[in-house]
């Protein structure tokens, strides 16, 4: 998956316009990235990519780029796209 595809996928999870979701976008800047949003992210990672997020992974998510890195680490994002 390319970075733009991943950003669109993330925007859909948090029900945010895609132009508001960039690698540098902070978690606090996305209203849908609340406790329910975290669970929706976990469910989507599990369903779409078979990635089971750990509590440690969740703690490290400060911005959108951190989600990209999780995808990259699991081989779901082109290397260097995070």
């Amino acid at each position: 998956m390319k970075q733009e595809e991943a950003l669109l996928w993330i925007a859909e999870i948090f029900e945010e316009p895609k132009e508001n979701v960039r690698p540098e976008t902070l978690r606090e800047a996305i209203p849908g990235f609340d406790s329910m949003g975290v669970l929706a992210l976990m469910a989507a990672l599990d369903k779409d990519f078979d990635i089971v997020l750990t509590e440690e992974d969740i703690r490290t998510i400060i911005k959108v780029g951190d989600i990209l890195r999780i995808l990259e680490r699991n081989g779901k994002l082109e290397a260097g796209a995070a």
């Binding site: 329910m36 669970l39 929706a40 599990d46 369903k47």
Partner: protein, 156 residues
């Protein structure tokens, strides 16, 4: 009107799938408004039927993680009208079932025709949040009749 939107469980595999029924009676007050002269079961109630069925499927595991509560509705589609008196057959298949959340694919059929479907997302609320004396009679009677047992709520 009580907010019990499942009359009977027909089949249950705890944490995996459920088939249940609900028949809305024509004398329910809501049909005076939905709609005058054209009574049909509101889509929100069909959605709640799916949520309650899937919730019972998850709750039947008797997991200490808590009681399943609807968190998100996706891909809800309503295809046909359901008049009062018709029996809705509700099916829920649990997609993913984790400690923190669960997802379910659900649909409702009337006379073997699909009337609506939705993907539902559940979170879990600790059992202590609810009245201690609360008993889900529909679920418990099915479990008793079919001798299905789980661990007690709160048990590790």
């Amino acid at each position: 009107m009580r907010f019990i939107l499942i009359d009977k469980i027909l089949k249950l595999s705890p944490g995996k799938s459920i088939v249940a029924t609900k028949t809305m009676q024509a004398d329910e007050e809501l049909f005076r408004d939905h709609f005058p002269g054209f009574p049909v079961v509101p889509g929100v109630l069909l959605t709640e039927m799916m949520a309650q069925a899937a919730g019972k499927c998850l709750d039947s595991e008797k997991s200490p993680r808590g009681r399943a509560m609807l968190g998100k509705i996706s891909n809800a589609t309503f295809r046909r009208w359901v008049p009062p008196g018709e029996t809705a057959v509700i099916t829920a298949e649990i997609d993913s079932n984790r400690e923190e959340f669960a997802t379910a694919k659900c649909h409702v059929e009337v006379e073997e025709k699909r009337v609506c479907s939705a993907d539902l997302f559940f979170v879990f609320v600790p059992h202590e949040q609810f009245a201690g004396a609360y008993v889900d009679e529909v679920l418990e009677s099915y479990l008793r009749e079919n001798r299905i047992q789980g661990s007690e709520p709160g048990a590790a």
